[in-house]
């Protein structure tokens, strides 16, 4: 995947109707800017169709906030277009796609865009290289290929993206760090299972670890490894484990009492908690920790908004006090970052379901 604008020959001549699929990425602003700029270079009149494709059915209660976010993104992007267009005559159309069906994977998205393009006579799709519709629907294959399949011309916006999104290419040292870490992790694992003193295991282990690190390093570490921070995090994580175990035992006993009591006084509720951790590994660690402590179960972890099912009130209170969140922040960001207000004080908690559902 190169960063250069990629154009299908023959289509780029009179592109006066552009389709720009938007998603909440760091490069979406640049993509919109590029679409307007390049469109105006080719012709004087421009019609920009901004669309957001929703991966979920819009009427599901948990995806309502997705719809709201999408509308916000659309109105923001429309302003960007007007900003960039200046005095040139640019028409902006916005649309929400996929509200009535469940979109899964690039194929569905490409089909939806194809239908839309046909309806509105779109000439060119300007694609955000980071385009990622919804955090749940990971792009398994490239959407580019699927767009070619439905016969849509597309142009990938040449954006400057932050280093952490450099997939496959990456700069040298970063790539080496990942390979290095992955190699030693898999080699260590191999030797733990095998016999570290037997030469055969040492040789085959090195070979296997080499293959694994070359093929999987870029997938395993979706974030840049920091030569100082990553080992420190590992150490801090080792401190976190006993704390987590203690929490698990404590709340397990509480929940055991509730379940074994014949009257079984449970109060299941769905709650939403907005967390202050970055997505990726910190979010995974937090969500898994929350799930591990009994009485709370993460149902959805699409982004910072966790949908948590709680079984008993005390577990809910514990969740809203945010002890685990603070601990995770300590692990990943250090001691100073751990001292933040509890989710309750921030107003980041919300009980959904239970009474109103």
């Amino acid at each position: 995947m190169s960063n250069d604008g990629h154009q299908e020959g023959g289509f780029a001549v009179a592109a006066d109707r552009l389709l720009v699929p938007l998603s909440d990425t760091v490069t979406v602003r640049q993509t919109v800017g590029y679409a307007v700029r390049s469109g105006l270079e080719r012709s004087d009149e421009l019609e920009v169709h901004l669309v957001v494709a929703l991966p979920h059915e819009a009427d599901l209660p948990e995806s309502r906030h997705h719809t709201a976010d999408a509308e916000e993104l659309l109105s923001k992007a429309a302003n960007w277009v007007r900003e960039d267009a200046g005095s040139a005559s640019v028409t902006v159309e916005t649309a929400l796609l996929g509200t009535d069906e469940y979109l899964f994977g690039p194929r569905d998205f490409a089909d939806t865009f194809g239908d839309y393009a046909q309806e509105h006579g779109i000439d060119l799709v300007v694609l955000d290289p980071e385009y990622q519709p919804g955090a749940t629907a990971q792009m398994l294959q490239s959407i580019e290929r699927e767009l070619e399949r439905v016969g849509l011309a597309y142009d990938e916006a040449p954006v400057e993206r932050p280093a952490r999104h450099e997939r496959l290419v990456g700069d040298g040292t970063e790539r080496f760090d990942r390979l290095f870490a992955m190699f030693w992790i898999s080699y260590g694992f191999y030797l733990v299972l095998g016999d570290p003193t037997y030469w055969f295991d040492l040789v085959t282990g090195a070979a296997v670890a080499g293959i694994v690190s070359v093929s999987l390093a870029q997938i395993t570490f979706t974030f840049p490894l920091d030569r100082v921070q990553s080992p420190i995090r590992t150490v801090r994580f080792a401190f976190y484990v006993p704390y987590l175990l203690w929490e698990i035992v404590k709340s397990n006993l509480a929940i055991s009492l509730v379940i074994l009591r014949p009257s079984m006084p449970i109060e299941p509720t769905m709650t939403r908690v907005n967390t202050r951790v970055r997505s990726g590994l910190p979010l995974l660690a937090l969500a898994n920790s929350i799930t591990l402590t009994p009485g709370t179960l993460v149902v959805r972890a699409d982004d910072q908004r966790l949908l948590v099912h709680t079984l008993i009130p005390s577990a809910r209170e514990g969740l809203f006090d945010g002890d685990l969140e603070r601990a995770i922040r300590f692990v990943f960001y250090g001691r100073e970052s751990a001292a933040i207000p509890t989710p309750r004080e921030r107003g980041d908690t919300e009980i959904i379901g239970g009474d109103d559902q």
Partner: protein, 110 residues
């Protein structure tokens, strides 16, 4: 002395492991809906399995097989909540409404 300490440690760990697994079994049978069941199924069971595995690790002592047991412990602790989360999410996405105290009359599916 060390031997008897080890012996009793194993007994206690196995006993608690059995207790928590029992809680998880009772929970899975008694609780009203899939979300609530996922709580005990994933957590009480994880702790139960973890304690039992710890007992095995202590019994095996310092040998190669112990490393396996510790690895197993790690796997159980990482994979079980993830699996429970995946199941709960799939339940949410296929539109199963969580049971609440309001709809007791709808029938506690036991």
């Amino acid at each position: 002395m060390i031997e008897s300490l080890r012996f009793w440690a194993i007994i206690v760990l196995v006993a608690f492991g059995l207790f928590f697994t029992f809680v998880s079994a009772v929970g899975v049978l008694r609780l009203p809906d899939v979300y609530a069941r996922a709580h005990t199924a994933s957590q009480a069971d994880t702790l139960g399995a973890g304690l039992a595995l710890a007992a095995v690790a202590i019994a095996l002592g310092w040998q190669h097989a112990t490393v396996y047991t510790v690895l197993l412990l790690f796997f159980v602790f990482i994979t079980n909540p993830t699996a429970a989360h995946a199941i709960a999410r799939s339940a949410a996405e296929s539109g199963i409404d969580p049971w609440t105290t309001d709809d007791t009359e709808e029938g506690e599916s036991k």
